[in-house]
Symmetry: C2
Subunit: 421 residues, 2 copies
């Protein structure tokens, strides 16, 4: 199974879904997905010469060589990991197809084939889209001009938020309505962002939450809980915005609403800050989407005392993702993988989740993307039904092919589209 070619394409959705396509000398095609990053496909292109002609079955060896090739690009994290993750998944998909087995067979087999999914929600129904540098944009296929419209602002206190939005108070009932609607789609777990632009923010950089902000967030969570009742799990995401003391005050305020977890309270840099929060929080704390290696997750679990780990397999890669899950399982820590992918990354993640005993729930971040499901070829019916993905014992690899015609229709125009440049 020698590698004949590696190609990339980027789909301009709510994020830049970055797809890697591996073609072997036997004409087997494997697909993988990378977590987005600026310059990412150029990085993959520069790695390509050491991949061509390699035996694509020695996947772990190839990943180690790629990381060594990328040592100047970062040996503890960063774009090189995103790049390798997509290449790795494409190799797994190709090899599983070669063997004609579903991917979960290659990770020790399944503990379950019905994978529980949670929906990431926003307060509004409209698509929120971020560029490769996490600035808000209107994708070209949605804009009036037919060109991508960029809002070149980074706001340190709000994920993809604009200063303009901070002038108005968010409406708790909009959150409640949204929660009810998504619950109606069959999901048993929902997640909301709580790093929301609001008029009470006093400083963009000091990470401190005003008491009025904490009350505001608690009121949103309360309305969501009231809307969905007790049979639906709710998680909230802080996008690593807050100081440890602010985060602790926030956990106390939302404790009555029995959250599944509170995610990323503090910046990913300091395991000591995380530990301070996990020591005092009455709410389970999840973190992990900004970390890459088993050693980093070991530190999060053993030193940081995190309650739930949430790695993103489009950053860690699948095999390192399995190792991270194994370390978590060693300490009875559940794993709830972060995922903002197209069906390619989502199904690859779902296969790995099948093989992980301590798997809790997998993210789906595409409910507002009108063509999310259209990108998949070869699946029978809806991919996510009543909040679950049911993996087939029959379909080889990740279980789908990419519908390249649909992908082309929503491509990022300044990026190569596989063999078309």
């Amino acid at each position: 199974m020698k590698i004949r070619d590696i190609q990339t394409a980027v789909i301009e959705a709510n994020y830049d879904w970055t797809i890697v396509k591996v073609i072997t000398e036997e004409d087997i095609v494997g697909y993988g997905e990378c977590f987005l990053a600026p310059g990412l496909t150029r990085t993959i292109q520069e790695l390509k010469p050491i991949l061509i002609g390699q035996d694509g079955r020695n996947i772990d060896r190839i990943c180690r060589l790629l990381r060594e090739a990328g040592v100047a690009a970062g040996s503890v994290g960063g774009i090189i990991f995103n790049a390798v993750a997509g290449i790795e998944t494409a190799l797994w998909d190709a090899y599983a197809k070669w063997l004609d087995v579903p991917l979960f067979r290659l990770f020790g087999g399944a503990f379950r084939t019905r994978i529980r999914i949670y929906a990431d929600c926003h307060a509004s129904e409209s698509l929120s889209s971020l560029s490769s540098i996490c600035t808000p944009r209107i994708p070209w296929w949605m804009s009036d001009t037919g060109e991508t419209v960029h809002f070149r602002e980074i706001h340190m206190r709000a994920h993809g938020g604009l200063s303009e939005e901070a002038k108005e108070l968010p409406d708790p009932m909009a959150y409640a309505e949204r929660a009810k609607r998504v619950k109606g789609m069959g999901y048993t777990a929902l997640k909301f962002d709580v790093d929301i632009p609001n008029p009470y923010m006093r400083d963009e950089f000091n990470r401190c939450l005003d008491n009025r902000e904490i009350d505001l967030i608690a009121s949103l969570v309360k309305e969501v809980r009231n809307a969905v009742g007790d049979d639906t799990d709710i998680a909230i995401d802080c996008h690593w915005r807050f100081s440890a003391e602010s985060a602790i005050r926030l956990t106390e305020a939302v404790a009555p609403y029995k959250l599944l977890w509170l995610e990323d309270p503090v910046p990913p840099d300091s395991v000591e800050a995380l530990k301070r929060v996990t020591d005092y929080s009455p709410v389970p704390i999840a973190t992990g989407e900004n970390h890459y290696t088993r050693q980093q997750f070991y530190a999060l679990i053993v030193q940081g005392g995190v309650h739930i780990v949430s790695p993103d397999f489009q950053k860690t890669g699948l095999l390192e993702g399995k190792r991270i899950a194994d370390i978590a399982e060693t300490f009875t820590t559940p794993i709830a993988p972060h995922n903002i992918s197209s069906p390619i990354g989502t199904l690859a993640s779902a296969h790995l989740c099948a093989s992980i005993p301590n798997f809790l729930v997998l993210e789906h971040h595409g409910i507002d993307v009108p063509f999310w499901e259209e990108l998949a070829l070869g699946w029978d019916g809806h991919i996510i039904r009543n909040g679950y993905i049911e993996l087939s014992e029959e379909k080889p690899g990740i279980g789908i092919e990419l519908n390249e015609e649909v992908a082309y229709r929503y491509r990022r125009k300044d990026e190569p589209f596989f063999d078309q440049t």
Copy 2:
């Protein structure tokens, strides 16, 4: 001092010297250098829209916004840091020129203006050059064909080495000759790579050193010590290749030769592995070129017990580099910055070293690059004289301009060259 433009160029030297040029609305030009990486200049290009029009004097704020913009690209390390480091240095250079002060004035002033430099040496006199993915190459301006010649091999046991080279034993006398020659250039400290391809290697991936390899390395170090005498410091570099137990055996074998330090014995991922080595090593251990943030250096120092820290300011950036030095100083840990730069990155590093009380010695990795010094405009005489850089109180910014004519002559041809694409 609003930012009007950000441009890049890559010089194909022993590494890809990646230069960032900032131009302000007052036509002040600042230069900075990034640590190389695949896809790097594309990453910078994608970051550019949020930089244009910003007040270039709020440097720390800009860096924080850029890192947040790059959070998808890696918040604990990687290419985004390399990119931001070059942009940051260019802003410092521009701002110091605007104020008409040497750069070290902006970091609290100088403890010294005479900066001690050590020379990175190879056993041979010829230029060893690595591509953006750390594979060996012959630069186009050295090759017979006029095109870059690439050797697409990653060897896990040798920095830029080829399997072919492992068939022959290295010659200790070549190391001794080389050491004598470089000492003759005036340097008071030398560094040699000891992760050398050799016939005794039993496995490429298990990180274990055969006893014969340890004897071989010790014999090289012995000859170097004999050649240079006791008045010259010697450091050795392991490029994070070895297991902790192998590294400990190696430190014991080279202990008689009174090394300045042994660098990067174990992979950068595990602070526990580092601690095992520092606990037992009779030789001072240095590490840091694969780390980015003050939190990571805090862990290396406090948990890992590292004796000397060696961050690369073309990865960490200058201000974070200063903070790393401050943390090191808190624990009386000396700092010996890693540096493989052109004169741009080297002088920026030298200015920061001037302002750091616990500074030990700064790397120079360009003694084999025939045009290293030619790249600098506006310096009087040699930049490095008798193993020191003497910073001027008079010259603003980093003290030189880039000679763009020379840079163009040795450019990487598939990269933009500033405003020419």
